[in-house]
Amino acid sequence: MKELKKFWALTVRNMKCYFKDKFLFFVSLITPMILLVLFVTFLREVYISSFKGIFEQFGFETDARLVNGLAGSWLLSSVVSVCAVTVAICSNAVMIQDKIEGSVNDLKTSPVKGTTLSLSYFAANFLVTLTVMLAVIAVGFVYLAIVGWYISFVDVLLILADTLCCVLFGTLLAGVIESYIGTQGALSAVSTLVSSLYGFICGAYMPLSQFDEGVRNVLCVLPGTYSVGITRVHFMQGYVKELGRQGLSEQGQKAVLDSFDGNLYVSKTQIPLWSMYVILLGTCALLLVAYVTIVVLQNRRHTARRVRG
């Protein structure tokens, strides 16, 4: 019970350290801000003309509200899936800063178990990333409500569940990647690399359907692709249903989903939604095993070296 209270005190402390560091908070939000700027400046028009092109092929016309909402929901699904990883990578910087600034030595001289300390970093990172993501989603929902809202209540709940999965994936990935980082340089390198590359390789900035089939198949091996995949489905399906209700044929609806990754394919085989969840959550389970192993090994190595003397 006492160790649990220590764990919670450390978790709260780690969260406060993140939110009080304005620079770190700002850096975490760079990816959603870049996506927003890209969307406002040109991506929105690109998406809308692509949607309209598909509609023309099927002799379908609709109002601007539905098209704007569809484009917005596509962007928001990208933001949620990418930021769950990039925010987690940045917010985990508290752990690395503790190593750099020596605070971890102060914590290690306290009667707290090494595993409690490591798990408190994980828990704080999860809660911080979830808080930021919920704030981003709230802002996104307000935007969609203004430009065109066609998301059902069930889809909202499913989107929140997807966000939880994405945050879990991002937090575990950050925990494993950053376990061995101990310098500011390495932290900057990892943050920059992940922030700039991750969105591209999981199809968040550009639909995977635009890639060559070989590249697409390779990218489908990466679990991050499925965090984008599940959010795409639940953000877009309300809009696509509305397109059907307004008279777009089933083929037309499939064309919209295929072009914008509402359906994912490996070669010519469509990946069902349930298998996306299996792959994503399976990866989370593997990352959890890896993270716990790293924590246990790091603590055991420290203790073993002490006892060996």
């Binding site: 306290s110 009667p111 003397g309």
Partner: protein, 304 residues
Amino acid sequence: MNEKVIDITELHKSFKEVKAVDGLSFCVQKGELFAFLGVNGAGKSTTINILSGILPKDSGTVTVCGEDIDKHAESIRCKLGIVFQASALDKRLSVKDNLKSRAALYGIFGEDFRRRLDELDGMLGLKELLQRPLVKLSGGQRRRVDIARALIHNPELLILDEPTTGLDPQTRQTVWRVIDELRQKRKMTVFLTTHYMEEAAIADYVVILDAGKKVAEGTPHELKTKFATDTVRVYSHLDEAQQLCAEGYSVKRERDFVDIEVKNTAVATQLITARPELFDDYEVLKGNMDSVFLRVTGKNIEEA
């Protein structure tokens, strides 16, 4: 019989080829002010890091408050309070948040924490600092908070790693007032590393380290008697006094005086009574810890 709070035997620690601590043995008695002297890189901080469980040792035995550090690390940590050379608290959090989060690690919550915070405020004057982020505090204020953090759980042993380095004289005085108070009222054992020889001079026991090895130990008086020399400073008959070098004395001429180095006060008395005509205006200066340090390490600690 004296009780040993720290007992270190044949302690070794290397970082690749560098031997940071090389066969170090010493003990610290309960309630004493123990000074650990050495230039930068002598092995002082490494020893402290091993004592506090941050660094593993390569070999040797370390016992703190009667418990082996390998077997009872967690229990030992409850008895230690450490003030690090550089503040290890969270710079962006307020003083209160810092102390609250650290107190929780010792199982101090709620009313117990508030009571302890009041006690520390009485000792260190923290009230006006509590809501301010650490990053906005001056060096002296931050040092007071560091000491409050080290004392948050009422430790038996307080380790201070160069606590007064870089502080203004007033804050140094505050730090020493707190240390004196802790020793007098609570009989707390204080383990101190310092660059200031006047601080080492008031310690109960001193160990001098050089290149990871113990080169001298004893009370300040014992060390001064063994290693330091006295000086007879003469302010008159300077030319004649300078001639004493011909009689084998080490003599140093300055603008207004001549310093004659003598082994001890008895030798100084012999010299003065033998040549009274030279000593109209003079004083005998006792050897200090600076000369002890210089003598045993061959290094001047202020240059380190």
